[in-house]
């Protein structure tokens, strides 16, 4: 079974062809970073306009990369939630148009389920990797979402939230801290790069909510903001130290909670997903900490962690296997279908 996946939930336009065994036949992502960089964040209407312009060439590029025609595909999967509604609608309507004209089933996919299953993707050019078995515990950390899940199977009803952020997402915190330090957008990769050059011990930051599986990142961001105010003029070296300290605090808390959640659930595999999983320190810490506890860490290649359509195609293939498809009334919504446990903004940190 081969599924065409389409992803337009935020600021990447993606199309991919994936087999239901996870084999990626084509994976094309067109980033809009340059369109949003002048505004220091994603502007929804600009994102929607870019998707309309890019999605046709991106879909055709994916088909060409796989050497396939639309008739070779068994179904069309598309991200229908969560995300920017105007941006999602571009992908959803394109998918409906293709499905109608090609007479193929249409499958709406929850973007977060895509991230949780991205660990099963196999890229032909990367070396063969082991994949986890269910159940596993996964940390999903992106620009819009950060939570730890117990995953018992590919259906959304088999994903249980164990703890999530009470406020900002981890990637959002990276981006906001970068802005505070006068760095460009998106901030995650820039902080990752500078952290290597800095000394984390020179900036003292407290770890928020150390004893819970729930998380908080806005307090950490405020600590950096206060430090910036105290500094006056920032030297390159001081910025690098702040990057190192912020990244060390953020990634150690994420890694610690992930491994703690796995032990609590008696599960022997942990998985990383979402754009922040591209962070080198986080990858290393999860690897090391899990190893110490006899837990296997499954860390997908960076291209599978950040937004991509291959994970959407794969999640769609899993739905199709269960006999699930959607009708022409498939709608886009900003909310995930995964049940939420952590309440936003509640209680003491």
């Amino acid at each position: 079974m081969i599924v065409l996946g389409i992803e337009t939930s935020c600021d990447e336009t993606g199309a991919a062809l994936v087999r239901d065994d996870g084999h990626v036949l084509a994976d094309v992502v067109e980033s809009q970073i340059a369109s949003h960089a002048p505004f220091g964040g994603v502007v929804p209407e600009v994102a929607s306009r870019d998707h309309v312009r890019n999605v046709g060439p991106v879909v055709r590029a994916a088909l060409a990369e796989a050497g396939m025609k639309i008739d070779d595909v068994d179904a069309i999967a598309v991200t229908a939630r969560p995300g920017l509604v105007g941006a999602l609608l571009v992908g959803v309507q394109i998918a409906k148009g293709i499905a109608l004209a090609a007479e193929k089933p249409l499958i709406g996919v929850d973007h977060l389920v895509g991230h949780l299953l991205a660990v099963f993707l196999r890229h032909p050019l990367t070396e063969a990797r082991a994949v986890p078995e269910f159940p596993f515990v996964a940390l999903l950390a992106s620009g819009g979402h950060t939570a730890i899940y117990r995953v018992d199977g590919p259906d959304p009803s088999q994903c249980t939230e164990l703890g999530a952020t009470r406020d900002d997402a981890a990637g959002e915190a990276f981006d906001k801290v970068a802005k505070l330090l006068g760095l460009g957008y998106p901030g995650g990769p820039e902080i990752d790069r500078r952290a290597l050059l800095g000394d984390p011990s020179r900036v003292k930051l407290r770890t928020p909510m150390p004893s819970s599986l729930e998380m908080s990142f806005s307090g950490l961001k405020s600590q950096v903001a206060r430090w910036v105010e105290e500094q006056g003029a920032l030297t390159e070296g001081a910025v690098n130290d702040a990057c190192a300290a912020f990244q060390a605090t953020a990634t150690s808390t994420l890694a610690d909670k992930l491994v703690r959640a796995a032990r609590q659930e008696n599960v022997t595999a942990v998985v990383l997903g979402g754009g922040v999983a591209a962070n080198r320190e986080l990858r290393q810490r999860v690897h090391d900490l899990a190893g110490k506890c006899g837990i296997s860490a499954f860390v997908p290649p960076v291209a599978c962690c950040t937004d991509n359509a291959a994970m959407i195609a794969y999640a769609g293939a899993m739905r199709l296997r269960r006999g699930e498809t959607d009708g022409w009334n498939l709608n886009a919504t900003s909310r995930t279908s995964l049940p939420r446990k952590t309440r936003k903004g509640r209680g003491a940190r």
Binding site: G56, V59, Q93, G97, L100, A101, E103
Partner: protein, 216 residues
């Protein structure tokens, strides 16, 4: 030749099927949510009734606005998807062209098309200006005065929003089918149009995007 048209740039969405220049079927529906849930269902039902397959349609006409940003993108994206899968021709038709389709302009008359742009504004197109504009309704009389128009033909439902009392000789054509764009008009126009390359098919936004920067 089989031709199908989709219009979603206002709250009234419509679909029309034409064969060899004759209307086969049409449907129209009001939707409060920009037609995302309804338009393809409506299209599929109409195709079914006509016993057509989407892939048999030779040309797709689509309304490119200006109008609701999201609404217009829904129609444009749907048609792009269809064209990617079927290889059919596409033709984007503006709301200005759709609304003024079939109106005779006498020698000496100057036509201006007015479309409701929400937020107290209208989109305007006329031979007096190079590009379509959007402006507050209250500013329109002054803009028209600057064109020195003697015999104005004010077209489109937006004309009813504008104070035209300083143009006593104006002819107003604002009732259906010249109120808002309808799929039937798109189809009639698209019949003789040169197709639009599918990758260049885009909404005619006229109004720039709202920039709401995230705060830290």
């Amino acid at each position: 030749m089989k031709l199908a048209a989709i219009e979603t740039s206002t709250q009234t969405g419509s679909v029309a099927l034409f064969e060899d220049g004759e209307l086969v079927l049409e449907a129209e529906e009001r939707a409060s949510n920009a037609h995302g849930e309804s338009i393809v269902a409506m299209l599929a039902a109409l195709l079914g009734k006509a016993k057509w397959k989407a892939r048999e349609v030779d040309r797709w006409a689509v309304g490119v606005g200006p109008g609701s940003f999201t609404g217009t993108r829904i129609g444009v994206s749907t048609v792009k998807g269809i064209a990617i899968a079927s290889g059919a021709d596409v033709a984007g038709v503006t709301a200005f062209d759709a609304v003024s389709d079939g109106i005779e302009i006498a020698p000496g008359e100057i036509a201006a098309v007015f479309l409701d742009a929400q937020r107290g504004e209208v989109f305007v197109q006329s031979t007096c200006i190079k590009e379509p504009i959007f402006a507050p309704i209250s500013r329109i009389p002054a803009i028209l005065a600057s064109w020195h128009v003697e015999r104005l033909v004010a077209i489109g439902a937006g004309a009813k929003l504008v104070d035209l009392s300083s143009f006593p000789g104006a002819r107003i054509v604002a009732d259906a089918p010249h109120d808002i764009p309808h799929a039937r008009a798109l189809a009639q126009i698209a019949r003789t149009r040169t197709p639009t390359p599918v990758d260049l098919l885009e909404p005619l936004y006229v109004r720039p995007p709202d920039i709401t920067a995230k705060k830290i």
